[in-house]
Symmetry: C2
Subunit: 420 residues, 2 copies
Amino acid sequence: MWEKTKAHIMSCERVFTIFLKWVLIGCLVGGIVGVIGITFHWLLEVATTFRMEHPKILWCLPFGGLAIIGLYHLLGIRKDRGTNFILVAVRQNEAVSLKMAPLIFFSTIITHLFGGSAGREGAALQLGGSIASFLGRIIHLNEKDKRIITMCGMAAGFSSLFGTPLTAVIFSMEVISVGIMHYSAIVPATIAAFIASALAQKLGFLPVAYTLLGVPEGLKLKLALSVGILGICCALASMLFCIVMDKTSHAYRRYIENPYIRVFVGGALMLGFTLLLGTRDYNGAGMDIIQKAIGGEARPEAFFLKILLTAITLGAGYKGGEIVPTFFIGATLGCVLGPLLGISPSFAAGMGLTAVFCGVTNCPIASVFLCIELFGAKGIVYCALCCGISYMLSGYYGLYSEQKIMYSKVKPEFIDRNVA
Amino acid sequence: MWEKTKAHIMSCERVFTIFLKWVLIGCLVGGIVGVIGITFHWLLEVATTFRMEHPKILWCLPFGGLAIIGLYHLLGIRKDRGTNFILVAVRQNEAVSLKMAPLIFFSTIITHLFGGSAGREGAALQLGGSIASFLGRIIHLNEKDKRIITMCGMAAGFSSLFGTPLTAVIFSMEVISVGIMHYSAIVPATIAAFIASALAQKLGFLPVAYTLLGVPEGLKLKLALSVGILGICCALASMLFCIVMDKTSHAYRRYIENPYIRVFVGGALMLGFTLLLGTRDYNGAGMDIIQKAIGGEARPEAFFLKILLTAITLGAGYKGGEIVPTFFIGATLGCVLGPLLGISPSFAAGMGLTAVFCGVTNCPIASVFLCIELFGAKGIVYCALCCGISYMLSGYYGLYSEQKIMYSKVKPEFIDRNVA
């Protein structure tokens, strides 16, 4: 009896030591990635403001593309796999080069400065993941601990940019192998995301947050039916986005072998489309358009054009990420479909944003948290229903080809397959 | 190309058919389990009110116990495994007898009527799970689909009682094999929980919801540190609760072989303690005490006495569940510790409630959703931190011995072990 109690106390002590270690590492990662992420956030805002004030800079987009490819070649990266390499780093403990951090940092700023259609959170994940992975090597973590620290870095990077710490933590634990939650990272990732968000708030970067209009009180079956149909549309839009992204990238590679020519042509195409459409709505991340959609205003063709132009931008070799474009696509689609389905356009935009995010990332729980952190908890059951349906019906598509879906979406069955 | 597209469309059609099937099943389970769950909810309230108005009924508790054991024997159940059998039903597709539904229904009402210290959600999970599993057999679902319908039943049962549909859905998907999310149930379980909650609301049963006082604005590092310490205390309380429950149950079985004598002695013990303590605070579920703790008022010894008296009640053979007692323990502990740590007692009670729930069920995500559905989304990052720490430090203890923890709490490593 005494022996057993002693063994138990020793095991508690060991766990507590591990806990303290991870608290410290969480603080370290949160602090370092936070500061870099916030600098990145600030420079992106500067670049966006500069572009807005000097719209002619768009003409330089093809040359900006050349600079990006040049940078990658200069640092010896021939084939960039985007956010995928972070997923592989966590799952298979493949080493992440620290070089990735400055590369994604500057190439994303170039993309935004010159008006490519791209996001910023893919960049934040890569930035945070590669810095944290490097820290892990410096402090000689073992193989398994390096995976945890990489997830902490992802969470800190994501939350320093969006100010949504819980979404960042859940997303980092959920996205790698869908159906498996990497809870071993829960404490350090939460601490890292908390510190990164707290630093951002301290420095005056307010978290991204919107107010939805027309959110219903209570549970109404008729509304649930409309939300279900919206969920189906979001699943279709998610599939369309993934397919267009994939096909565009393949077409680029097939028809234009030289990456410099490819990025130049992509930049020129983006420039041409912008002039043709006569609007700057699709350049950069488009946070203003998301804001408008959530206010209840969006053009019917916006979601499709954003899909196309994001595929043209990112497929050509520009950098940033696919998630903010996803927000754009979902919010504008929801805003347009809402009134047709008897849902307030603003509420439908919010649900669309999260449900398309869910469809392309296959992360239903992170999506519901996203909804809570962006819009608050009211009407959350509808949002969860919309996300659940988008998850179930969006098939095995996804933005990250290295993502694995561990369990079938329709049966409790282990499948362990890569997304298409 | 055309062949591929055709195959793709056919696969989409197949998934859509499965989707429609599950929408219908979700509605069916939500409706049937909802109505029964609401009746159960109503009868429990009637029983509780009757007990409050006739405190002398407590003297009959030992005889109520005899009735419970008699009922189980009458229907041929010699060894009741409580909520465990539902976990096994989902994981290994063990058939659940429909008999379990009336048994748990009436035995929980008896326990509450006569003043045993017990919850009601274990009952709700068993009620919902066994009814849904029976429906699955009637409509000839295959083995895998039967697991999904059982999860739907759990979600509907839980949410008809608490009015927290999202917590119900996530809990049902998360509790069985911690670390694996059974997303294949996400759409039908959400629909079932939605319908059960909507029915309850329609019939005037308002969702359980509280207002926390003193929730801080923004992210403060000093407060996070205090919350961290609260999380550690919640982990210790969770372990203590699991250990006391386990040891008490073993001691009962060891020293009193006859289940009738056992339940009678347990009832007499509960009666004796109640008279000795001179308070009725620990009889029944104790929702009023939870409410008071969240208002900022609790006795320092309350959490420990609730642990003890719940173990005495449930270990002896009374029925109900362990989760509402867990809420009681967490809320009173948090309320008392809060001011010592510089946290508002009300806010600390809310975090304590969710973090102890997390520690004993090993369900961090369901816990954070619980916090959101009971208290709203404000201050949710602190709550997540508290739950994360409680999860990490509460060891491999748990209330359900059939629960499996699939991944180590401190390493990204597959362990597949039962909780202690």
